[in-house]
């Protein structure tokens, strides 16, 4: 379990980093916290010719209130955001605590988790649920990629090989909205077998808006858009949630693996979606 030989670069600026990516393209891999990439290298499942280690680029480890939400630099660690979220952002905090263990979160970055795009990972689903985005830079410029366009498939995003994610943008919850975050994993700290992130806003005792992101249920995290639309205007009852969950679960195409069958994932997605919506609407304090 030792990586195959590679060329190593540790650029000191974003410009230098993207220049390297421009030169080496698909032969290069960005190294951030290393919590996913290093195991892949050690198993020789990934054999990049070039490693571009971004850890020595100054000024990228920020978490700031900006754009009516958070701007998170590419080197902000998961643990850093978790600490930040301890005070007043229980949704983020809960989601982050499901990511591995404290030691892993101390190294692992927010951007790295999103770039890695494991379909059973928490942070991509969170980004999707909150309608966030990432800023991608290449030697030819910068673009913002919304979460809905970002997650293409298993470990595949819309970020090009010559692009570096410089920032993750995470909008806040709509005013007064409640949240629910639930997952089933084999053990504490494992990737989810199935997970759900949900947000519900109420108005006059009815659902004004609902958002549901499911993870571990297919090749990429998914938004349950038809179910969300069906929920709007309904009363927040178990029956409503169950109908929406049935609708959403029916469209899922989960994979089977060593840990669970596709059938299991579909069934538990349904269960967790009902529970997460119920938790979110209980937490919501709609006007009136």
């Amino acid at each position: 379990m030792k990586p195959a030989p590679f060329e190593y670069h540790d650029p000191r600026s974003i410009d230098e980093a993207v220049a390297l990516l421009a030169r080496h393209g698909a032969d290069a891999k960005v190294l951030a916290g290393g919590q996913s990439l290093i195991p892949l290298l050690a198993f020789r499942l990934a054999r990049p010719a070039v490693i571009v280690d971004i850890n020595r680029i100054p000024g990228l480890d920020y978490v700031r209130n900006e754009h009516e939400g958070l701007a998170i630099g590419a080197l902000a660690r998961q643990r850093q955001l978790e600490r930040w979220a301890l005070d007043g952002s229980p949704f983020l905090c809960t989601a982050l605590r499901h990511v591995g263990h404290a030691a892993i979160r101390t190294r692992g970055t927010i951007a790295g988790s999103i770039a890695h795009a494991d379909p059973a990972a928490e942070l991509p689903a969170l980004l999707l649920c909150l309608d966030g985005s990432v800023m991608a830079r290449s030697s030819s410029g910068q673009r913002e990629i919304p979460a809905r366009e970002l997650f293409v498939s298993h470990l595949t995003t819309a970020v090009r090989a010559d692009e570096l994610i410089t920032e993750v943008r995470l909008p806040g919850l709509p005013d007064g909205a409640g949240w629910g975050f639930l997952e089933v994993a084999r053990r504490h700290g494992d990737f989810a077998l199935v997970g759900v992130a949900a947000v519900v806003a109420l108005r006059n005792g009815r659902i004004a808006q609902a958002r549901v992101a499911l993870f571990g249920c297919g090749a990429a995290p998914v938004r349950a858009t038809p179910a969300e639309q069906a929920l709007a205007g309904q009363a927040p009852t178990r029956g409503t949630f169950a109908a929406a969950a049935r609708e959403a679960a029916g469209t899922l195409t989960p994979d089977a693996d060593l840990h669970a069958s596709a059938e299991y994932r579909r069934s538990v997605a349904h269960t967790l979606m009902v529970r997460a919506l119920a938790a979110a609407s209980e937490r919501a304090r709609g006007p009136g």
Partner: protein, 781 residues
């Protein structure tokens, strides 16, 4: 012997170095000029090697040499085999036993994924792995033998062309008259239970470092092993060298659990490479290798039936057992017979019929792992007993009450031999009282009273029991030598090899009490063949009893010698000499007291004359134990099941156990806790999975799930001390017990929680997906 330390909760003397990160494991050994080995392992379950080309690999930068079977043919001897039945057992049970030959490097056919095909040695492990990648092998795949039950039947592809079938060990065994009992029974239950393949998985994988000194022909090898002397014997045979030229050192060992008590190819390959290359060689097993190359374990299928009377009395057990031993049968009858010998456990049952088949398949070879055949037996038996209880409308506690042996029925002779060939007689204990103690401590009745109201509210909680009686501390002996140095301090040397159990503390407690010296004066050395010429090693819950008894005997002999010398020095009769807190004195004359050091120093010859005694204050003992001594326990698990996700939460776990006299309570608690953790792994998490082609699917700890501290419930232990009369210390083994009962207790608890749905658990691990499928099947039925 004054019991000042024996039984006391003294702190573990080895802990500071572990806690400070100062422990020294094999991978910490670094020698000048050392090179590193990596192995090419078979990617196929079953395939013939048609060609190996190492030219490209050998020419790579930093590569010292690449070895295949042909390159090392003169060193290639079959790996050691264990487990022929001893005479006392062979006389009673007729075994069909076929053993297999495995070489350190694959000769022509690879029989499991992970079997070693070639070894590359280079100036770094990185480059050794690069070289391994560059070795070219031509493979001709052969049909894979995977499922143990079908593999045991006619028509299966054969693992070994010269065998009539794939059965490596076959036998039947009976006591009483099971047929008659089944005919006379009021109730019969039968079920098929499966225990998965799960393994020891020490945190420190295996590792070997070897260096050969040509000038004097000595080989020194560090090996992360539980059995330093066995490794030495194996090397003596393989290398045709006298044992005194081979020093095997087991330094700090980060867990063993039986995984490191087997004989492995790498034990010899690394020393061979060191000899051939004339340089020190290191191999530190990585986790990926460990998954496929270190011994696997468990993996049995039981078709078990119980016969009972209307009042719940169990009359007889019938069992057909299959054990998947993997590709090579290196452990003979050990696991099969362990299972049979532990099937009846605490139950008062006089009739048994077992038919056993240990089957070879294209998988990593099996070896004994913490419990070694017992958890499988207990799972089949205690699950079957719960099925019987349910069928009869009896509480699982009540059916056990009616069938557990009481203290006044012991000694209890099962009427069969134990695995060591001696009569199987439970020597001491009170299983019924143990059951009651466990039920009381776990507040079983309270749980039962609360259960219906919880169910009304949709909360599915269950409680499960399992008990075992375990033959511990198999002989025939362990070595120990106890001596004083010039300062009167004590050195204890033993063939036992700690892999974290706290030998340096427990053994020091025994020696310090016998010699009446402060505990801090005692240093315990294990795992070094140069320190004591003979030894066995640490496995089978044996070291406290076997090494402890030898330490007791040797220290007693040493004490007598000290007293004789002190009598001369102090000019008193030996009967009047006492040793107190490291000083010798004439009884009743405190002013006569001199430190032990004085006695040693006075024994060394001077120009003026010889000493008061010969200065070798040293005694060695090889205490022989008559047979195993029987420990026992009852485990109680409490769970809550989420019927919509199949997730099982462990709420509480209790162990009421008898390991005879307890030398050190926290150490015994630690042994129990660690065993329970591994048992929880077996119950809910761990499984080595192969596909139909014999490909290993669990290649990392992302796939093979060990429980962590987060998955474990609070574990309570109740110590019930029924001293053993089979050793001078009154103790029994406790190393394995914790791991024996959790799968049965937890499965019983889950079934109890879901009793309203009628779910039946027949296999482990009980994963959320499996459990939800069972619940779903009941709901739709």
């Amino acid at each position: 012997m004054g019991a000042k330390y024996f039984g006391a909760a003294v702190r573990r003397v080895e802990d500071p170095r572990y806690l400070r990160g100062e422990a020294r494991y094999v991978d910490d050994i670094k020698l000048p000029g050392m090179v590193h080995a990596a192995f090419l392992r078979s990617p196929h379950a079953h395939a013939r090697i048609t060609r190996i080309d190492t030219t490209r690999a050998a020419a790579m930068p930093g590569v010292a040499r690449v070895f295949t079977f042909a390159d090392l043919a003169r060193f290639m001897k079959p790996l050691p085999l264990f487990g022929a039945p001893p005479p006392g057992l062979a006389a009673r049970v007729s075994f069909t036993m076929r053993q297999t030959t495995q070489y350190g490097l694959c000769k022509d056919v690879a029989r499991y994924v992970g079997e070693i095909v070639a070894m590359a040695v280079a100036d770094s492990r990185y480059r050794a792995e690069d070289a391994v990648d560059a070795i070219e092998v031509g493979w001709e795949p052969l049909p894979a033998v995977v499922d143990m039950v079908t593999a045991s039947e006619p028509g299966s592809p054969l693992m070994y062309a010269d065998w009539p079938d794939n059965v490596a060990v076959g036998f039947t065994h009976a006591i009483g008259d099971a047929d008659a009992a089944f005919t006379a029974a009021d109730v019969v239950v039968r079920e098929r239970f499966r225990v998965q393949r799960y393994v020891g998985m020490p945190i420190e994988p295996r590792g070997v470092v070897a260096t050969y000194e040509r000038r004097d022909g000595t080989l020194t090898t560090w090996n992360s092993t539980q059995v330093a002397h066995w490794v030495q014997q194996g090397l003596a045979a393989a290398l045709e060298m006298p044992p005194h030229k081979i020093r095997v050192i087991a330094p700090d060992v980060g867990g063993g659990f039986g995984t490191k008590a087997a004989g492995y190819a790498e034990d010899a390959l690394i020393p061979i490479a060191a000899i051939v290359l004339g340089r020190p060689v290191k191999w530190a097993e990585d986790r990926r290798e460990h998954m496929m190359a270190a011994a696997h374990a468990r993996h049995q299928v039981h078709d078990i039936a119980l016969a009972a009377r209307r009042d719940g009395t169990i009359l007889a057990v019938r069992d057909r057992v299959w054990l998947d031993v993997g590709a090579y049968n290196s452990w003979g009858i050990v696991l099969p017979y362990n299972t049979v010998a532990h099937l009846l456990g605490p139950y008062r049952i006089r009739n048994l019929h077992v038919a056993f088949k240990a089957v070879v398949t294209n998988k990593t070879p099996n070896a004994p792992y913490r419990g070694a055949g017992r958890p499988e037996a207990v799972f089949a038996m205690d699950r079957a007993v719960d099925c019987l209880a349910r069928r009869m409308g009896l509480d699982p506690a009540e059916i056990r009450r009616r069938n557990y042996l009481r203290g006044d029925e012991l000694p209890w002779d099962l009427g069969m031999p134990y695995r060591d060939g001696n009569p199987l007689v439970y020597d001491s204990g009170d299983f019924r009282a143990g059951l009651e103690a466990a039920l009381r401590a776990a507040r079983y009745d309270e749980f039962r009273r609360a259960q219906p109201a919880l169910r009304e509210r949709g909360i599915y909680r269950g409680i499960g029991l399992s008990g075992y009686v375990e033959g511990t501390a198999i002989g025939p002996y362990e070595s120990a030598s106890v001596r004083l140095d010039l300062a009167g301090r004590v050195v204890v040397v033993t063939g036992a090899c700690s892999s974290g159990q706290g030998h340096e503390t427990s053994f020091a407690q025994v020696a310090a009490d016998v010699l009446s010296v402060p505990l801090e004066w005692v240093t315990v050395i294990g795992g070094d063949t140069s320190a004591v010429p003979f030894g066995v090693g640490t496995f089978a819950s044996r070291s406290a009893v076997t090494a402890g008894s030898s330490i007791h005997d040797a220290a007693t002999a040493l004490r007598e010698k000290i007293i004789r010398a002190a009598a001369t020095l102090l000019e008193a009769a030996p009967a009047d000499i006492a040793i107190e807190d490291g000083r010798v004195l004439v009884r009743g004359a405190p002013a006569s007291a001199v430190p032990l050091a004085r006695v040693v120093q006075a024994s060394i010859p001077t120009f003026a004359g010889p000493g008061v005694a010969s200065p070798d204050f040293e005694a060695t003992a090889y205490h022989h134990v008559p047979t195993v001594t029987w420990a026992s326990a009852v485990h109680v698990a409490q769970v809550e099941v989420d019927p919509e996700t199949g997730v099982v939460a462990l709420l509480a776990y209790l162990v009421a156990h008898d390991c005879g006299k307890v030398i050190n309570p926290p150490i015994v608690d630690g042994q129990v806790h660690g065993g329970v953790a591994q048992g929880v792994g077996g119950a809910l998490y761990e499984e080595m999975v192969y596909d139909e082609g014999g490909q290993l699917l669990t290649g990392s700890l992302m796939d093979y799930l060990l429980p962590t501290a987060m998955e474990l419930p609070p574990i309570e232990t109740v110590h019930l001390e029924h001293p053993s009369a089979r050793n001078p210390l009154g103790i029994k083994g406790v190393g394995e017990g914790g791991a024996i009962s959790p799968p049965a207790a937890i499965a019983n608890a889950i079934e109890d929680a879901l009793a309203p749905l009628g779910v039946r658990i027949t296999e482990t691990p009980v994963t959320p997906a499996r459990l939800l499928a069972l619940i779903g099947a009941k709901k739709t039925a």
